[in-house]
Amino acid sequence: MNQAQLEQLYVDHGPMVIRRCRALLRHEQDALEASQEVFVKVLENAHTLDLNTSPSSLLYRIATNHCLNRIRAQKHRAKQETQQDILLLEIARHTEDDTVLVEKRSSLRHLFRRQQDSTRYIAILYWVEEMTLKEVADEVNMSVSGVRKRLRQLKEQIEPTVDNLREVEEH
């Protein structure tokens, strides 16, 4: 990928990536750095990535996973609460007030760390972004039943900590 191609990719999708990183990291400088790192990944893997079919989906997913990893790294490095909390808190935030959340952060964080990237991404799309099962399945190239199974398994683990999580659609 040459400079002109990268520039065009940035103009077309850079704002989305930065917006995504801002939403997850909640820190402007971190979001900018993370966004640049996302484009580095794209640059380094341009020969294997399909940037023609649905670049929005691809970049959104890379940005999400990269920012989640960055959050994990920073939490590990700093070992202190920051505004950059783990994404399950976003899920929980839809169902609980912040006071309750503070007490649940530790267990949620541990739980979330143990999930595969794809499961975390599915959880975010379904519980945070409130996409439908079909929409999530289309995004991750899985069957609806496969997505439903992942969500149900995760929900079973989350439920002792977070109440009132959105039900996984039956059909």
Binding site: D12, P15, S35, Q36, P55, S56, H76, K79, E129, E130
Partner: protein, 279 residues
């Protein structure tokens, strides 16, 4: 008219990118109870935000930074960790007293010394002529220098470590650590999905690692195999083994890992951490 369910951000971004047909957009609006007016307003707001972002971070500036970043051979950022925790029940902890829990001797194939050395004076890769065995070493960052830690040396929460290994030839393998709470952290490869190749010669991992407050010890493990390694599968094997043992409040030494696979060997490097009383 306000929406009860805002449109999912990803879908909004894709609509703005022109990915969807009008029929698909109608379907999305229907699914998420979004009026045509609300969708139009959301798209206009997104467009404004796009302009603001591109003004704040012009493409020339941004892409130049990306190319510069890509050209750096190693980054000094803290690695993204693949960290797994075990939620051990009280029963499991109590069972520690009778669990099969063998302790590995603090052995190493290195001859560590702790004379402070400027870490930047050594190249990151040195071909080791005649290196006979796998070696793992830990450096403690103490700006502007780094100190080579001895096997069994005491470290504490907040210490920043850098991992170095040396292999007589390239192998398949992993570097990970196990702390006193039996949490596994993967250090190499950087991500469990990446290929688990350890290069020949002396290599220093390009990211640092800061110790957390887990008690007793941090045992680093270099796993070297002749056949390809599925990182996730290997980590799960270690997890399973650790499930049969238990971190114990009365012990300060790590468990000795079993032979994980016939073609694999392990080298360990253990650092001790001050004991912390737990409620």
């Amino acid at each position: 008219m306000s929406t009860h369910h805002p449109i999912p951000q990803l879908l909004l971004e894709k609509i703005a990118s022109g990915v969807y047909s009008q029929e698909q957009i109608s379907q999305i609006r229907h699914e998420h109870h979004i009026s045509a007016e609300d969708l139009q307003a959301a798209l206009e707001a997104l467009q404004e935000d796009n302009h603001a972002i591109l003004n704040a971070y012009p493409r020339e500036e941004f892409t130049k930074a990306v190319f510069n970043l890509a050209q750096q051979p190693t980054q000094t950022t803290t690695k993204p960790t693949y960290r797994r925790h075990f939620a051990l029940s009280a029963a499991a902890i109590a069972a520690a007293a009778i669990a099969i829990f063998t302790f590995g001797p603090l052995t190493t194939s290195t001859s560590p010394h702790n004379a402070p050395q400027p870490i930047t004076q050594e190249p990151d890769t040195i071909r080791l002529k005649g290196a006979q065995q796998d070696t793992l070493r830990l450096w403690k960052a103490q700006e502007p220098t780094a100190t080579l830690l001895k096997q069994g040396e005491t470290v504490q929460e907040g210490d920043t470590l850098q991992i170095e290994y040396a292999l007589p030839k390239q192998t398949h393998g992993l570097i990970l650590s196990i702390d006193g709470e039996h949490t596994i952290t993967l250090h190499a490869p950087e991500n469990a999905r990446d290929s688990a190749i350890l290069k020949e010669g002396k290599q220093r991992l390009p990211y640092s690692y800061t110790l957390d407050n887990a008690p007793y010890y941090e045992q680093f493990v270099l796993l070297s195999c002749t056949q390809p390694v599925d990182t996730t599968e290997m980590l799960e094997r270690i997890e399973e083994f650790l499930h049969t043992t238990s971190p114990s409040s009365s012990q300060t030494k790590p468990p000795r890992l079993p032979q994980l696979r016939q073609d694999c060997s392990t080298s360990t490097y253990t650092l001790l951490k001050p004991r912390k009383d737990r409620p």
